[in-house]
Every structure is written in structure tokens, then in C-alpha cells.
């Protein structure tokens, strides 16, 4: 395993008019790791994710992919790099079935017509490889799926395309206990497959359960990036609400990066 982070942001700034939302943010995601992004409302989580995804472009700072500087200006750019974002509101079409949703916009065709069989098999195989056993048939309409199943489909959709980084925006926000557990174990399996996973969550229990590292944003600055093993829930809440935690030793913003890669 290399020391090279798959995705690296250095000293990123982003303003909307007079309002500076991101102040010199450093961030990284490594293959095979789940890094959680936490922070209060308005801390800049969504802005950071949208910068990564190309919905927004960064004002200044470095955006490195696999060690090389890249320019990500549109969602297409990030998709081309292998970055998939699963948004909170899922972006599934309820009137279409699971296969149709997973291939939406990227349908397989042969001789101008849709190759339904190839798509159905690929969708089934992807779900199977993620050990998803909760859907009865891949030809079910999404409207008949529960919240957890929908989240599963949305996540499976993101890995269908040989993506390298999957960013999940609050994947468990609307789920019950059992379904949250399923989705979290799916998140873990993504990392075990060698993907870099970025998890945005408000739920400290989820974050502590599934993360390898945790990055806390506070008022647009990276408050700390810490190893999962070195923090507890109280400290995370402190980081979110005050931007610092005296009980965490030796992890100022950015230092966690070097610490983790050593």
C-alpha cells in the first residue's frame, strides 16, 4: 500500500461573494479507508463536498488526485476521475426499477437498443458483490423499496462504475436502526473493496462505528483530523461545537494527516 492519498486538498478556499465559506481547508481520502466529515450546520461540509464533486470550483488551493494536481470544474470532471457522490435525497427515479436506476444516464446499448439483459446481470452482480441481500428482485420498482433499500441501491449505483472515491451525504439520516446497521456495513465493505469512502454524518455513533479517520469542520476551517481510535464521542461533540478539544493531544488541524500516514 502506498502512502499516497487518493484525494488530497491543500489550503482550499472558497467564497460566495463576500462570504468566505472555506478557509484554508486541508482534506484527504485514502483508498481502503472510511474518512468521516463532521461539523455543525454551516460548517462547510456540503460546500467542501461540492468542491470535490465539481459543482463548485475552488477559489484557491490545490486539488490533487492520485498525487497529481487536477482541475475539477464540473461534475463531469469529477466523475471522469472516478468520484461518485451519493446525495442525501438519493436521486433515484421511483417509477423505474433498480436496474434502470443503476444504469440511468449510462445505459448499455447494443445496436441502438437497450441491452436490458447485460444491465440486469451487471446490476445483480454488483449487488451480490456488495453482499446486498435485502432486495427481492432487481426488477422491482424503486417506489416499492424501503428507505434502507433505496439507500443501498443508491450506493450500489455509485460503485457500479468502477469508481475510486465514493462520497456519501448523510446516508443514514432517514433510516431506522436495523437499516442503518445494514447501510453502515455496506459502507465498510466499500472501503474493504479498496475504495476511498467519505462519509458525511451528523450521527456520532455512526461515525465512530464505521470510520478509520474523522475530519471535523468548524466554521469553514478544518478543526482536526483524527484517528478513530484516538477519540470518543464527547471529544467529537467538542470539536463540532467549539472547533477544538483540549483532551485530544497533538492533533491541530492538518497534523492528523501526517500522523495518520506515518
Amino acid at each position: 500500500m502506498t502512502d499516497q492519498p487518493l484525494l488530497q486538498l491543500r489550503n482550499v478556499n472558497k467564497s460566495f461573494g463576500p462570504v468566505q465559506v472555506l478557509h484554508g481547508v486541508d482534506f484527504e481520502a485514502r483508498a481502503g479507508e472510511v474518512v468521516s466529515l463532521i461539523g455543525d450546520n454551516g460548517a462547510g461540509k456540503s460546500t467542501l463536498v461540492k468542491c470535490i464533486g465539481g459543482t463548485y470550483t475552488i477559489d484557491s488551493g490545490e486539488y490533487l488526485f492520485d498525487g497529481a494536481p487536477v482541475h475539477v470544474r464540473t461534475p463531469r470532471d469529477s466523475a471522469a476521475l472516478g468520484i461518485e457522490i451519493v446525495y442525501q435525497d438519493l436521486a433515484l427515479c421511483e417509477n423505474l426499477d433498480i436496474v434502470q436506476n443503476m444504469f440511468l444516464g449510462r445505459e448499455t446499448t447494443s445496436r441502438l437498443t437497450l441491452d436490458e439483459n447485460a444491465m440486469e446481470r451487471a446490476a445483480s452482480e454488483t449487488l451480490a458483490s456488495l453482499s446486498v441481500r435485502t432486495v427481492k428482485s432487481v426488477r422491482q420498482r424503486v417506489s416499492s423499496l424501503s428507505g434502507g433499500q433505496r439507500q443501498t441501491v443508491a450506493i450500489a449505483k455509485s460503485v457500479l462504475w468502477n469508481s475510486k472515491i465514493v462520497i456519501l451525504d448523510e446516508p443514514t439520516a432517514a433510516l431506522g436502526v436495523a437499516q442503518t446497521a445494514q447501510v453502515l456495513s455496506l459502507v465498510r465493505r466499500l472501503a474493504d473493496r479498496g475504495l476511498a469512502v467519505v462519509l458525511i454524518s451528523h450521527n456520532m455513533l455512526d461515525v465512530l462505528e464505521v470510520s478509520d479517520r474523522i475530519a471535523a469542520l468548524y466554521l469553514g476551517r478544518m478543526a482536526a483530523i483524527v484517528d478513530r481510535a484516538s477519540v470518543n464521542q464527547t471529544q467529537l461533540v467538542e470539536l463540532i461545537t467549539t472547533g477544538r478539544s483540549d483532551s485530544i493531544t497533538g492533533v491541530p488541524a492538518g497534523a492528523g494527516m501526517t500522523g495518520a500516514s506515518a
Binding site: G39, G42, C93, N95, S124, S144
Partner: protein, 460 residues
Amino acid sequence: MTTSDTSSATSTTAAPDPDETPDPHSLAVMAATAPVGNGVGDYARNYVSRLRGGDMGSLPAVTGLIVLVILFSILQPSFHKLYNVSVLLTEGSGPIVIAMGLVFVLLLGEIDLSAGYAAGVCAAVMVRLMVGYHAPWPVSIGAALLTGVVIGVLIGLLRAKVRIPSFVVTLAFFLAFQGIALYVLNNGKGQQGNVSVTDNVINGIENNQMPLWLGWLFAAACVALYAAVKLSASLTRRRAGLSAEPNSVSALKILGVAVLVFGMVYVLNKDRAINKKAIPQNVNGKLELVRPPKLEGVPWVILLVVVLLVVWTFILSRTRYGRHVYAVGGNEEAARRAGIQVDRIRISVFVISSFMAAIGGILIASNVKSVSVDNYGGNTLLLAVGAAVIGGTSLFGGKGRVIDAIIGGLVVEVIYNGMADLVKGTNGSAVQYVVTGLVLMLAAAIDALSRRRAGAAGLG
């Protein structure tokens, strides 16, 4: 900044709790490799559960059609006369073709109220070119179709780029096209509003029939095509290791289609002339008994409608474009994020709608052998919208098929035709309007209720 709060609230409502399976693992059937049950029983169970979930498709329309046909056959002895069957089909073809185009617009949750008068404008362009400028029929028809495309692009741009709600855009055009049709039809010689079609090809679409043998061949081709599509789909799915429709079910469906198609051709191939008695006529100066010409065979327009059905069904269900139409109708934001050019899809459905309206307009002109603005009024539009919705196409977008237009169109036409002779006197058309309006309301209510039911069952 983050929108976490509002968005998480929406996703909470989007994922209703009541349906949460107590233990999701109890559903644990491996989606991937094991094909789901292949038996007829499973198939029937799936179908019933789909119905209960509010996905009724065209079942209400088909049931309604059967009930209406039986009802009118009892109440109205002339209803099932052979002549009437053919009248019903040819008269209905114009609104049905317009409704086929409307299905695309409705799939996006939009509406095209201008389709009726757009058909009128296109037909007016056609007839003016022929009557005023002696253009041959291919040129006139081409011009009419092109007019339809231009109208569609215009509506589509106003909806997709200027972002005027389609209801308003097409209501404005509903009014404007009425005037444009009148203007085009006015040749300055007092013929305003009504111009006869003299071309035999155009009049022949609705009024001429195929030779009997061609009718049979046509029926055989229809059944063969349907069977080939069904069987090859099953075969390739099985070969790919996927679950397929049970053979017995496919066989039943093919048999059903065969009975329907051959039955129809059989009926249409019988002589339906009302007056079959020989009448004295002057032939070469001598008075002779001459039998009136036979009226038999499948009207050509049926062939056209079937071709349109096959082509549009193929485009909707087998191409990326069709998939994207459903996607935009289901969740526009999801479609946009998937990289689908939503605006282009939106413009395209209005183009299809107006293009089909042009064809429908030509058919209506052919049926009555003239173009009159009155023939394209609110009536035609109501019939077309009613046809699509009654057939099972949802007004809320995302659900519908081209064949819905035909099934629904037949329902509307049967009501119109059946009522026409049933209610005698001056109130006949008044009752027709009321009944058709109520049926449209009923269909919309079924649509809305089945949607709510699906939502309540956690399936929405």
C-alpha cells in the same frame, strides 16, 4: 452552506416508515444469481400484488371498454352493426393518433392543450397547399408534418427555456392556433373555415380499404411480430440466466392477441354496406339493376395506426431516449444528475406531440374529406387527452404507454358513438359532452387515487 436540515427532512418523508419490514433479512432472496420463481403461480401473484399496489395499467380501461361494448350492444341494436364498427375505428383514429403524441407529454407530467388546434393548423396548411397552390399530396403532407414539428419546437422552447408552465403555453396556443387555422383556411372567396379535400390519396387513408387478402396478411404479420418479440425476449433472458415470463403465459398472451387481431380483420373483411339491394340505374342508356359496390376490408388507416404504435412503443421501451423520458418524468433532478439533458427531452416530447397532432389532423381531414376549424376544437382535444388518461397514462408523469392511447381512445369513441344514437333529440350532443367529461374525470380520479394508494402502502 449546508442544507442538511431541510434536505434530511425531505428524505425522511420520502422514506416512509410504516413499510419498514420488521426484519429486512426475512426478504433475503438473493437478488443476484438465483432467478425469482418461474412458475405461473408466481407470475399471477406478482401481477396481483402490482394491482394492489396501485399499478393498474390499462386494466380499468379494458374492463370499461368491454362493459361499454356489452352495454351499448344491448341498449342500442345498431351499435354492433358491421358498418358502425368500421366507423368507430376510422373516426377514432384521429384523436387516437393525437393521444399517442400526448402520452409523451403526459409522461413528463406536462400537458398539451393546443394539440387539437395544432392538428387543425397542420391540416389547414395541407389543404391550402393542395387547393390554393395545386401542390401534390406528398408535398402537402410533408408541409403539414413540418408545421407540426415547428409548433412543437416553439412550445418546447417556451416551456423548457422560458419556463412558462406548459398549461399556460399551450392554452395560449389553443386560442392562437384557432385563429391561425381560420386565417390559413380563408382563401378570400368566402370559403372561410371550411375547405374540401379533393385528393384521393388523402381521402383514401380513412375511406379506402385494403384488399381482403392484404387484411389477412396484415393480421398474420401483426401476430407474428408480437409472437417473435415475446418469444425472443424470453429466450434471450433464459439464455442469459435471468428469470423470464413463463412460456404458458406468453402463449396465452400471443393467443389472445391472435384472436383479437384475426377477429377484427374477419369482421372488417365482411361486406358492411348498409344497402346491399340492387337498385335500378342508368347504364349506357339502359335501365339495369346494379348492386351497390361492396364495402369491405380493413381501412388503410388501421395499418398506419399500428405502425405508429409499433414505432413509438419501440422508441419508448427499447431506446435510451425512451428510458430518459421516463426518468425525467419520474424524477427530474435525478435525471439531471445522471447527465440527462432534461431540457432537450422536454422540448422533444412537445415536438413528438405536435408531430403526431399533425398526423391526427390529416386523418381527421381524410375522415370528413374536408378541413374545418370546428373539427379540431375542444372536442378533439378532450377526446385525445381523455384517451390517453383513460387508457392508464398518469397525469402526474412517469407512467404510461403508447397503447394506452388506443385503448382509451376506443373507450371514448365507444361512448361517443354509442351515445350518439342512444340519446335522441336536441340534447344528444349535450349528453355526450357531459358523459365524456365525467368519464375523463373518473379516469383522472382513478389515476390520482391509485397514486395515493401506492403512497399509503409505502409504494409511492
